[in-house]
Amino acid sequence: MIKVEEKLFQNRYRVDVGRPHINIANPDICQGECKTQECTVCCPAGCYTQEGNGRVVLITDGCLECGTCRIICTDFRNVEWEYPRGGYGILFKFG
């Protein structure tokens, strides 16, 4: 099974270090209230990972800026989602 990291490795990014464009509004909701945590499976870039203690950790470096995580978080609307600053983020070579 190929890892998503191997796919993302082919892509070009300009990471806005220290300024993630997506944030989990309240991590306690993911840990305590969200039973399904679809973001940890459905994000096509695997940006969301489930920790052993039920916490969800978000690292946006590989983000493809699709919007999936924001739209599927229907029960809690717990994803604060903006586009990266101009010029930052994914830079598609082919699109």
Binding site: P44, L91, G95
Partner: protein, 432 residues
């Protein structure tokens, strides 16, 4: 930047470029703002270009547009785990210029289109994200960008900011997209020598083939797969409704990996070098999901307005057409000296209603709910069709009549007679 423009266009994809080009060409003072490093660097598409929509904007686009292959053959595959049944339509009529459809690579195509926009006189600013619309009461009067002192003003702001449509959402023009109304597609581009592609797809020169697929590859989800031939690369992808991804908790890249392993697909990709992996949402809610598309000082075009015909895999042509018609509406109102209000800009929707965009979307308005409510179209039927073909084509001493009976039994067993009749009726209604 305290200048005021006739129009600000947010985004430099097909709809934004069509709008900016049309207005600039008519002599309006147009500012276009793009968040990517260059136009195309944030944009994802399969990608098929439909000539007609672009011809209506740039009639001689074939002279210098970066086109990959013109399509002479369309394959429709219905897949089971190890097989497919399909139809191929190939015609020499598609091999005579002017060609009807082309494969394109969006990063290159959008750059080309943007150059035309700038040549027409629009001002393009890249690497700039629009954060908010600037309102005066209910009226949009400009945009706030992430540049220092980044407020710019215009008589009208055309939102061509793509499927996520954050600006209209923030301004309260429409709500967050329902996962039922949007598909998530993932795709890869695989490079290989031109001769390899030509041999594998039985084409030469710039001829190309598309394969659209339904069935087991979407693992029961409502969706489709595709494989397109570019000059020196193949694009392969799969997209399913986000509500299905959410409900079934499927990993999109695992889905794509599994599809690439299908015995009918794998040999087509063999030896290729994967050079990019992308993901994108496609607004597939159809006619009933189209939001309000204009108001005081604003208009929505392209994906941001849900303008995708999911049944026919058309989007970029709807994007270009909505962009062009929004622009033409602005040009006409300006020429009349009219204010760009909610009332006057409603002309845009009236105009669109008379085009293929709204007519087609209206025709298929029942389709999304029919497919959502009847997953058997993506599960049982592909399986049954493949089994039927297998039964009929296996020569094993069993007589054909018995085989037919077996096939009929398998269909009725899976769906019941009433189920089959009901499904036929639903499909007829949805396509009517």
């Amino acid at each position: 930047m305290d200048e005021k423009f006739d129009a600000i266009v947010v985004g430099a994809g097909p709809s934004g470029n069509a709008a900016a080009y049309t207005m600039a060409k008519a002599g309006l003072k147009v500012l276009q703002i793009e968040r990517g490093e260059y136009p195309g660097s944030k944009n994802v598409q399969g990608a098929i270009l439909y000539s007609d929509a672009l011809e209506k904007i740039i009639p001689d686009f074939r002279d210098d547009a970066p086109l990959e292959r013109h399509l002479i053959e369309q394959r429709m595959w219905v897949l089971d785990d190890k097989s497919y049944v399909g139809t191929h339509y190939r015609s020499d009529d598609f091999n005579k210029p002017p060609y009807n459809r082309y494969t394109i690579i969006r990063a290159q195509f959008d750059k080309w289109f943007s150059k035309k926009v700038q040549d027409a006189g629009a001002l393009l600013i890249c690497e700039t994200t629009v954060k908010d619309l600037i309102m005066d009461g209910d009226r949009v009067i400009g945009v706030q960008t992430d540049r220092e002192g980044g407020a710019v003003y215009a008589d009208v702001v055309i939102l061509a900011d793509g499927v996520n449509s954050l600006l209209a959402k923030k301004a309260g023009f429409h709500a967050e997209i329902d996962p039922k109304n949007v598909a998530l597609a993932v795709k890869e581009i695989h490079f290989m020598p031109q001769e390899t592609i030509e041999a594998r797809f039985n084409v030469s020169g710039d001829e190309g083939v598309v394969i659209e697929m339904v069935g087991k590859i979407t693992q029961g989800m409502m969706g489709t797969g595709f494989l397109y031939t570019n000059k020196e690369s193949l694009t392969i992808g799969v997209g399913c409704m986000l509500s299905d991804f959410k409900q079934q908790k499927v990993s999109p890249y695992a889905l794509l990996e599994q599809m690439k392993e299908h015995p009918s697909i794998k040999p087509l990709l063999a030896g290729g070098e994967m050079k990019e992996y992308t993901a994108h949402l496609i607004p597939e809610g159809g006619y009933n999901a189209i939001p309000q598309i204009s108001g005081d000082g604003w208009m929505i075009v392209g994906d941001s307005g849900m303008f995708v015909n999911a049944v026919h895999r058309e989007g970029s042509n709807l994007a270009m057409t909505t962009g062009r018609i929004a622009a033409e509406t602005v040009i006409e109102l300006k020429a009349m000296g009219a204010e760009l209000t909610a009332k006057s800009l409603a002309l845009y929707r009236d105009r669109l209603d008379d085009t293929f965009v709204m007519k087609d979307l209206k025709k298929y308005r029942r389709m999304p709910s029919v497919f959502h409510a009847n997953p058997q179209f993506f599960t049982s039927y592909p399986e049954l069709a493949n089994q039927a073909a297998h039964t009929m084509l296996t020569v094993d001493g069993v007589d054909k009549k018995t085989k037919e009976r077996e096939i009929r039994k398998s269909f009725v067993g899976k769906r019941s007679l009433f189920g089959l009749l009901g499904d036929a009726f639903k499909m007829w209604r949805a396509f009517e």
